[in-house]
């Protein structure tokens, strides 16, 4: 059984049953899942979690649906990697990368989709749908195939090739829309009224879907030995992930899984070409003005972020910061992470690393903090962004002479330069 006590409007506090609802009927505010935390605390122990599956479902007691056989490709329990070489470059102390590139379809979206479709199936839905900037599309198509559900995925027409292929391969419907993500999102929000029997994971099932992101916080704490970090850097698209990471640490404390009350500073990362939250943070205002995105970080290109206010609030109340980085800095971030830690991130990961670097240089993120940066998607999804930025060191004839010539000036390799023997 699950421990859900209901849904509650974040704006006006009205309560609702745990059905396929995502906004308050009265004021349109977002609905939030509420739990019976006393019951969770009585049930959820570190031992019970350790004996659970190596996936998000080890934290099922704090997820909004209970199912012995969830819609699951193995999302979550991704590596938390100590990043000493990157930390040294940035002048930081204890730095960790949460490597969510290791998820089944290569992004954190598997966490939210596994939860959303498990709940959707329980609610009786047969068709899975979504509006997506690509990563969600990949994940919905894959999980729907796994669950034997039909899928209808709507994407903007200008997505990266890999994201389109990685969605289409699963055999569902993929609708390419001539417009921006915000256009696709508006279309899906309207379609939800016309197709009430479809589970749009990030529209009418969004309340449950979003809860999946809490598992990022749960895993980080467990992997740090049931301790919360001091500072987390989170990329912002809609802002949902950031707010749920904050909720995740709070919940662990509420149900008694942390020995010390967490005090996690949460900082947001955006691309300069789509930075409505970072702009509002910088201007010290609550008013988030929607923008028309223009950035290579397409997975974060949401000009009208649904959870922008709440993300801003979570950042400010935690003592964190929010910054934006240029497309060139995004590329540098991708290369820096790859070069120092062997992790290849998509453009959103480049945004996170570049923002981490920027906030470290400003002294906002400090060397005495235990810092975790969320790298949420795999670099193979956005290889176009690196065209021209990386290339082979040399192209040579298959001879020892050619190899020696190509390597002649490479002083970084140890040992004598390669020479043809005289014998």
């Amino acid at each position: 059984m699950d421990f859900v006590s209901g849904l509650r409007c974040r704006e006006c506090g009205r309560g609702y049953p745990a059905e396929a609802l995502h906004v308050c009927d009265y004021c349109f505010g977002p609905l939030e899942v509420t739990y019976d935390y006393e019951q969770v605390a009585a049930t959820m122990t570190k031992e019970r979690i350790a004996a659970g599956p190596r996936s998000i479902w080890r934290y099922a007691d704090l997820l909004p649906v209970a199912d012995a056989a969830p819609v699951d490709l193995g999302a979550g329990f991704t590596p938390l990697v100590r990043a000493d070489r990157l930390a040294a470059e940035l002048g930081l102390g204890e730095l960790w990368i949460k490597d969510d590139t290791a998820n089944p379809t290569g992004s954190f979206k598997d966490r939210v989709v596994s939860v959303a479709l498990t709940k959707a199936r329980q609610l009786g839905f047969k068709i899975a749908a979504c509006a997506s900037t690509g990563n969600l599309a990949n994940s919905v198509a894959a999980h729907a195939a796994r669950a034997g559900m039909e899928s209808v995925v709507l994407i903007p027409h200008d997505l990266e090739t890999a994201k389109v292929t990685m969605t289409s391969v699963y055999g569902g419907r993929v609708i390419s829309v001539e417009g921006s993500y915000d256009d696709v999102n508006r279309l899906c929000a309207e379609l939800t009224s016309e197709q009430p029997s479809w589970a749009f994971v990030n529209v009418n099932v969004r309340t449950y879907y979003a809860e999946g992101s809490k598992t990022l916080a749960f895993e980080v704490a467990e992997q740090l030995g049931w301790k919360a970090p001091d500072h987390v850097v989170v990329p912002i698209g809609s802002g949902s992930q950031l707010t749920k990471v904050a909720k995740g640490f709070d919940e662990l404390w509420k149900v008694g899984l942390l020995d010390e009350e967490p005090s996690v500073r949460i900082s947001g990362a955006q691309a300069e070409g789509c930075s409505p939250v970072a702009t509002a943070f910088a201007e010290g205002t609550d008013a988030i003005r929607p923008v028309k995105p223009h950035t290579i970080a397409k997975s974060l290109a949401i000009g009208n972020p649904a959870d922008g206010w709440y993300a801003l609030d979570a950042i400010r109340s935690s003592g964190g910061s929010c910054a934006s980085v240029t497309d060139d800095e995004v590329i540098e971030g991708i290369l820096l992470l790859a070069r120092t830690e062997g992790i290849f991130a998509e453009t959103a990961g480049g945004v996170t690393i570049a923002t981490l670097a920027k906030l470290a240089a400003q002294g906002v993120i400090r060397a005495d903090e235990r810092v975790v940066a969320l790298v949420t998607g795999h670099g193979l999804k956005t290889v176009e962004a690196l065209s021209g930025a990386v290339h082979p060191t040399a192209t040579i004839a298959p001879t020892l002479e050619a190899f020696a010539e190509a390597m002649r000036d490479d002083s970084e390799l140890t040992g004598a330069p390669v020479q043809r023997s005289e014998s």
Binding site: H22, F28, P30, A131, R186, E190, N202, V203, W309
Partner: protein, 91 residues
């Protein structure tokens, strides 16, 4: 100007279940006020105390967010469609 307004599920209790309603007006604001006159209760649901749109209500004219146009003062032309859409979606 006769304008068609698309109504989201959450507000269809006010229109007797209709997903689309035709009203008159020369601006988006007038159209929404006419909607409230025809189907009492709309103003309370979509406007805040200051008379602006509630924070989680998006309004589109011909599929463009009115915040990128002139907001509630945006002029409408005959036959256009105004959509009321819950803002919380996506991402």
């Amino acid at each position: 100007m006769s304008v068609s307004v698309r109504i989201p599920t959450q507000l269809r209790t006010l229109t007797g279940g209709a997903g689309s309603v035709s009203v008159e007006g020369t601006t988006v604001g007038e159209v929404l006020k006419a909607l409230d006159a025809a189907h009492a209760g709309f103003a309370d649901r979509i406007f805040d105390d200051a008379g602006g749109l509630r924070r989680f209500v998006n309004v589109f004219l011909a599929d463009e967010d009115v915040r990128f146009l002139e907001g509630l003062a945006t002029p409408v032309t005959d036959g256009q469609t105004v959509s009321i859409v819950p803002a919380v979606a996506g991402g």
